[in-house]
């Protein structure tokens, strides 16, 4: 048995308030929302989030005031499970990693709530309240997820956000495509969750604990696994769960369909928070993953390939939200790439900056959709630059940030990831990252130029009927993908179309005050948020790396901690082959505080390293500019050239447009066989045959039996008397026999 690391036992009540405020908001809006006016229900929801943000700030303040190196505040709310060896408390803990997460969730969450008060204003009162109740519930669960100290508590939040995601994606539940998308999201997430549970169970049986601190302490004393052992299997299972939640290959297929939900939902859930749960989970278990180098490599490869693949798909999509969805998948790939390289802080850093500009982009697209009364196809847009100035300029800032132009947030975080990848020697993955960067810049600016520049077009083909009211025959989660296959060009109107805003461009107004305020705050964030992580190569001190570092290492009993964070393991770049797995021995450094090897330079290799890093920064900056230039050429200068390229490579274009036919493949290989099995075997065979057969058979048996037995009722009294007599003789015979 491993003795437990010392936890801080004072109870910090403010921690419980962080998820409690939005939960109370959910309760109020769920039970009373129908009777409340929009101002009240929206106000309650926003106040709950702002209150949660205030509580988070207080908690972070308390945490920062703790003496180092283990800085955390804990609150043991109540004892949840006490069953033999299994003792799980519902305990919350704010450490540096959690502090970043809660500030992002509550801060950006508050902005999105405020934005939603204007965006959803055309809904009825009860629908408005329902929306906000779900949104608050989501925030509560997400906060539980990031604050939990044990796997089960994390999993409660994990499942809860999945549920809220389903509820919110299918918010306009009269639309068949929305319902299907919600179901698809839930089912695909569930597959990931199954792997997650298996991983948890494996960890429990191997280590006897599910507490993060205890696990890390136990694992830290072991050497990293040489082959594919228990830790690797467990972490791989956890990672599969993360691919479901964070939309990586192979379980990313739900995220683009999730755009059926209202745009603020896409911003909050599918850009800023829920999808980052997988990244957070790996960061939380950094010690565990560091001891499973094979799994980390798989994580990195999956992240890189997903980033590239999503980037290629996003290049040709025509729905404004879909482009952003694939962009999210792609950026998540970057984060997983970082995690796979052991650069946990870099991954979280990118998570943090990405939350800003992706939320900004989604909210901006929402403002466009709002102004155009539900139009989402970018081929029908254009010329909005003058009509929607605030929207345009904030959107542009977001696009520049995500493209990685130096000076804005995205540059620092993305560059950190690329640098770490290169420095670990994974040149192929680095190349993939750079290519994805190019694609990111290109498709993002394609989006900007087509949406805002030029003149208003109506180039999209006539859509299929947008409101799919009639339920399809087998309304499985696949129906949404079937719509995709029939042409990604079909419109996805959200409910704004139903509220007559006026048709083609006659009545365009920029974002209302609430929406504009959120956009502007996020735009400012997209610019300045990255400055917490200015790397040493540019003269900064990479503050965020140092801040987050204690969260990624285990803390032993005596306060001494082991350095197993891979990010600090290279004093000089490896020259081994690009894909060779790295064996990381735990370097027992003097417990003088975590320092990144960046700054604890040993002298000789340090200047070279800085030069190399600067060179790589230059490369990625050039790539970003080239991408923007390509987009400018194809979509401002010569539009016809874009169409010509598409026509000349028509099969490739079609392949990308149909998202590599992945949904169709899944349907063919997985969904249809399961449906056939269910209908043929389980339904007709087991349910109708066996179970109904048993029940009906019992009835038939009773009927048949009674039709035989009723002949006993001859109606003759003497026969009945004879029956009694036979009984008497039998009883007498029994006594005779016995005695």
């Amino acid at each position: 048995m491993v003795s437990q690391p010392p936890l801080l036992h004072e109870s910090h009540v403010v921690l419980a308030l962080i998820p409690l405020f939005p939960f109370v908001g959910f309760l109020i809006n769920a039970f009373f929302g129908r009777r409340l006016s929009k101002a009240v229900s929206g106000g309650i929801a926003c106040l709950a989030m702002i209150g949660s943000f205030a509580a988070s700030a207080v908690a972070v303040w308390q945490m920062v005031g703790q003496p180092g190196p283990v800085r955390a505040v804990t609150d043991n709310v109540y004892q949840w499970i006490a069953s033999g060896d299994l003792q799980i408390d519902f305990a919350l803990r704010v450490d540096p990693l959690a502090s970043v997460m809660i500030l992002v969730i509550t801060g950006i969450g508050s902005l999105i709530h405020i934005y939603s008060t204007a965006y959803m204003h055309e809904e009825s009162d009860s629908e408005y309240a329902r929306y906000f109740s779900y949104l608050n519930l989501f925030a509560a669960f997400m906060l539980v997820l990031v604050l939990g100290t044990t796997f089960p508590v994390l999993f409660v939040g994990w499942e809860g956000v999945g549920l809220c995601s389903y509820l919110l994606i299918g918010f306009w539940h009269r639309k068949q495509s929305a319902i299907d998308a919600g179901k698809k999201a839930f089912v695909v997430n569930r597959i990931g969750d199954f792997a997650f549970i298996l991983g948890m169970l494996l960890l429990w049986t191997t280590f006897g604990t599910l507490d993060f601190q205890n696990l890390a302490a136990q694992v830290a004393s072991l050497p990293p696994e040489a082959g594919f052992g228990v830790i690797s299997i467990a972490t791989l299972l956890l990672f599969i769960g993360a691919t479901g939640k964070s939309a990586q290959i192979p379980l990313y297929v739900w995220l683009p369909d999730a755009m059926e939900g209202p745009t603020p939902v896409s911003a909050l859930i599918h850009a800023a928070t829920m999808v980052t749960a997988g990244v957070y989970m790996i960061g939380r278990n950094a010690e565990l993953f560091s001891h499973a180098p094979d799994t980390l490599l798989i994580v990195a490869i999956v992240g890189g390939v997903t980033a590239l693949m999503a980037g290629t798909i996003g290049l040709v999509q025509n729905d404004i939200k879909r482009v952003l969805a694939y962009s999210t998948v792609s950026q998540l790939g970057y984060m997983f790439l970082a995690m796979g390289m052991g650069a946990y802080a870099a991954g979280i850093f990118h998570l943090y900056t990405h939350a800003f500009f992706k939320a900004l982009l989604f909210l901006g697209s929402g403002a466009v959709i709002h102004a155009l009364a539900g139009e989402q196809d970018i081929r029908n847009m254009g010329g909005l630059k003058k009509a929607l100035p605030i929207t345009y300029w904030t959107f542009l800032i977001g696009a520049i940030a995500i493209a990685g132009v130096p000076g804005l947030a995205g540059f620092f975080s993305k560059d950190e990831i690329l640098w770490r990848t290169f420095a670990s020697g994974h040149w192929i993955l680095w190349t993939i990252g750079v290519l994805t960067s190019l694609l990111t810049a290109t498709y993002m600016f394609r989006l900007v130029f087509l949406t805002f520049h030029g003149e208003r077009r109506h180039a999209a083909p006539a859509p299929a009927h947008p409101e799919e009211e009639e339920p399809t025959a087998d309304a499985g989660a696949h129906a949404a993908a079937a719509h995709q296959a029939s042409g990604a060009t079909a419109h996805r109107h959200d409910a704004h179309a139903a509220h007559g805003h006026g048709g083609a461009g006659s009545h365009l107004h920029d974002a209302p005050a609430a929406m504009a305020a959120a956009l502007i705050v996020l735009a400012i964030g997209s610019v300045v948020a990255g400055y917490v992580g200015v790397p040493a190569a540019l003269g900064g001190n990479n503050w965020i790396e140092h801040y987050l570092h204690p969260s990624f290492v285990a803390h032993g009993v005596g306060g001494e901690h082991r350095e197993t964070d891979r990010s600090s393991s290279y004093a000089s770049p490896h020259s081994a082959g690009p894909e060779a797995p790295h064996s990381v021995g735990p370097e027992a450094q003097a417990p003088s505080g975590a320092t990144s090897a960046h700054d604890a330079g040993s002298g000789s290799g340090h200047a070279e390293e800085i030069a190399l890093e600067r060179t790589l920064m230059l490369v990625s900056s050039i790539v970003a500019i080239v991408g923007i230039g390509l987009a400018w050429y194809f979509f401002i200068r010569r539009r016809a050239a874009a169409d010509a390229v598409a026509a000349s490579a028509a099969p490739l274009y079609r392949l990308l447009l149909h998202k590599y036919y992945v949904d169709e493949a899944y349907d063919l290989v997985i969904v249809q066989p399961i449906k056939r099995l269910s209908a043929g075997l389980l339904w007709k065979g087991v349910d109708a045959g066996l179970i109904d057969g048993a029940v009906n058979g019992t009835g038939a048996f009773v009927g048949a039996g009674s039709s035989v037995l009723r002949r006993w009722q001859t109606g003759s009294v003497r026969v009945y008397a004879a029956s009694v007599f036979v009984g008497v003789v039998t009883v007498l015979g029994y006594y005779v026999w016995r005695y």
Binding site: R711, W712, Q713
Partner: protein
């Protein structure tokens, strides 16, 4: 010397006669009479056994059996009257409405 056996044999004979009467007669009233014969046979057994074991319980039981037999005869005969009103017959085989 009259032993308990004698009384038991007598009782058995009477009981058998009663049983035979229940099955062989086709007049309901005679059937009821046969039942009374059976009950009397049982009474005899009880009294004889009570005498054998010097217990007064035998006669007590006989007391109760007689009471119940009286009640049963009353109700049974009332039933017979009601049945007779329906079918004008006292043959038990005439009443087969409860046949399946």
């Amino acid at each position: 010397m009259i032993t308990l056996n004698h009384y038991l044999v007598l009782s058995a004979i009477l009981f058998t006669i009663g049983t035979a009467g229940v099955f062989l007669r086709r007049n309901i009233i005679t059937v009821l009479l046969s039942i009374e014969i059976m009950l009397n046979a049982v009474n005899l057994t009880f009294v004889a056994a009570g005498r054998q074991f010097a217990a007064v319980d035998g006669q007590i039981i006989v007391f109760f059996v007689m009471t119940v037999a009286a009640a049963e005869a009353a109700v049974g005969l009332a039933l017979v009257i009601a049945l007779f009103r329906h079918r004008e017959s006292l043959n038990p085989d005439a009443f087969t409405s409860l046949k399946w």
